[in-house]
């Protein structure tokens, strides 16, 4: 039972980081990018490949995943960020599908649908940390906390203010002398780098990686977390992540048969989204806002 609880905390930590990274580009900057899962996947594959083929460890892989995902996002941004609104959403969603196809078919690199096995558990100062142990929980929570502190600082910096201004009115931001394209590209690159870290964390936890990491439902869950918590609000993404994961686990707690857990989970997600849109369209964090 305690292992189940630990695994829940670890998964929540990984998703909280991923959701917060998405909150930077989608929430704060207003980029309707549905391909964020690509950066998560690129980070995860970077860690998996570097570990299994070149023996890179956990900490090096975190850095490498951030770097690779960031570089990948720079190219991705140059191609897509001239688009906005629904056009950007469709183009990036298409890109996520393409990423999935590439991961499935580039067998020499990714081992295709069979996936990559034999990934090492995290090793810190020579100590191997086993999955679902207390030490593992501490390690992951610490990493996620540290990265979230960086993100918190970024959200509340003058650069964060510029991103919020772009979300409000991009033309007005240009009229205030801002190179909005550059700012949006950096927002995407940073957002991707943090998503890459989340991907590396996932890889070193699951110890197995296959192309389902790019699957459409993952994107929907991610959007759900940020929207339910509150787009652009730092605490909103964390609140949204905890809520969505808790609600996703409810069918298991209630004791639904395995065959309907997936479907009932989707119904609950839908109810959560509709409820949020109905009562707190700006997100559930507004419950805690000072009037």
């Amino acid at each position: 039972m305690i292992e189940y609880f630990f695994s829940l905390v670890i998964i929540t930590a990984i998703w909280a980081l991923l959701a917060q990274s998405y909150n930077l580009s989608f929430g704060l900057t207003g980029l309707f990018n549905l391909g964020h899962i690509i950066f998560y996947g690129v980070g995860a594959y970077t860690a998996a490949i570097l570990n299994t083929k070149y023996g890179w460890g956990f900490l090096e892989n975190i850095g490498a995943a951030a770097l690779f995902s960031g570089i990948f996002a720079a190219g991705f941004g140059l191609l897509t960020l001239r688009l906005s609104g629904h056009y950007l959403a469709i183009a990036t969603l298409g890109a996520a599908m393409i990423a999935s196809v590439i991961a499935t078919n580039w067998i020499s690199l990714t081992n295709g649908p069979l996936g990559i096995r034999g990934i090492d558990e995290p090793e810190i100062f020579g100590i191997t940390i086993e999955a679902d142990s207390l030490l593992f929980v501490l390690l992951y929570v610490t990493v996620v906390l540290l990265v979230n502190i960086l993100l918190y600082k970024l959200f509340h910096s003058p650069f964060g203010r510029l991103l919020r201004a772009i979300k409000d009115d991009e033309i007005a931001a240009q009229a205030a002398g801002k190179n909005t394209f550059k700012a949006k590209t950096w927002s995407l690159i940073l957002s991707a780098a943090f998503a890459g870290i989340a991907g590396a964390l996932y890889t070193h936890y699951r110890l197995f990686l296959d192309p389902t990491i790019f699957a459409l439902p993952e994107i929907i869950v991610l959007v759900l977390m940020v929207v339910v918590g509150g787009r652009g609000n730092f605490w909103g993404a964390i609140l949204g992540t905890i809520l969505v994961i808790f609600i996703g686990e409810l069918p298991r707690f209630i004791g639904f048969p395995d065959s309907i857990i997936g479907a009932s989970r989707n119904i609950m997600y839908a109810a959560l989204l509709i409820g949020t849109m109905f009562w707190k369209p700006k997100g559930l964090f507004t419950f805690f806002e000072k009037k």
Partner: protein, 247 residues
């Protein structure tokens, strides 16, 4: 006097429509110039062309004797040309103070500088001073979206001034503004002139423009019609015909 802005034969076509055609004029440094014309004359389009929010089909624009070529709008602001919009554009989700801070400095535009140094006390003091000029300092920590129409207009003007631009283009600064606020607008513009700035104004409020502008340029159907001091423009038969319809 020294020429600040030199617009040479600019044109803009939207399909078959000539919104601005072969339009030329020059503005001297430290003057207040008005731009008038009937609705659809191409005034706002001219503003958009000068500030590069719209690409022109022909012509060239020189600012401080430099050819502006195809610089993006944000780069023009760094050169010293800033503008307001006919439809107010502020950042409703940012506070009033943040709206001004945004255009006050560029040193934090890159994320890593913004990350390392965050002392904005100097900028905050300047923002406070600028907001006091338009009596918005009390609202500085409110969301800009909560301001009234007139206040939003003043905020947009202050944000534009905060860029430190030499040439400021105001698109209808007096429209929809009540008389006390109109006095604030006038004071603001006179202060700018006193600081050596150059102001170019589109306006339909004639008494306002007669009082403020040193010279007025008149446009009709996208073309230059005439240019003179306000008292003469008021009586110019070509201008009257343009507004009232000639025979």
């Amino acid at each position: 006097m020294k020429t600040l802005l030199d617009v040479r034969n600019i044109s803009k076509r939207f399909g078959g429509l000539h919104a601005v055609e072969n339009f030329s004029f020059a503005i001297e440094k430290n003057t207040i110039i008005g731009l008038i014309g009937p609705n659809g004359a191409g005034k706002t389009t001219a503003f958009n062309l000068i500030t590069h929010f719209l690409p022109r089909n022909e012509g060239s624009i020189f600012f401080q004797e430099k050819n502006l070529k195809k610089k993006p709008p944000y780069a023009l602001i760094r050169h010293g040309i800033a503008r307001t919009f006919q439809q107010i554009r502020i950042f409703p989700e940012l506070t009033v103070r943040e709206n001004v801070l945004l255009s006050l400095s560029w040193k934090y535009d890159s994320w890593w500088k913004s990350f390392l140094l965050q002392d904005e006390s100097e900028e905050n003091a300047t923002a406070y001073k600028l907001l006091s000029e338009v009596h918005l300092e009390k609202h500085r920590d409110e969301k800009a979206g909560n301001l009234s129409y007139g206040q939003s207009k003043l905020l947009e003007m202050v944000r534009t001034i905060a860029t430190g631009a030499e040439l400021i283009l105001f698109d209808e600064p007096a429209a929809g503004v009540n008389p006390p606020m109109l006095n604030t607008v006038k004071k603001l513009i006179r202060n700018l002139k006193a600081q050596g700035k150059t102001i170019f104004i589109i306006e339909h409020n004639m008494p306002f423009l007669m009082e403020m502008a040193e010279e007025i340029i008149v446009m009709e159907n996208g073309k230059f019609l005439c240019r003179d001091v306000p008292t003469k423009i008021q009586k110019d038969i070509r201008v009257l015909e343009a507004y009232l319809g000639g025979s």
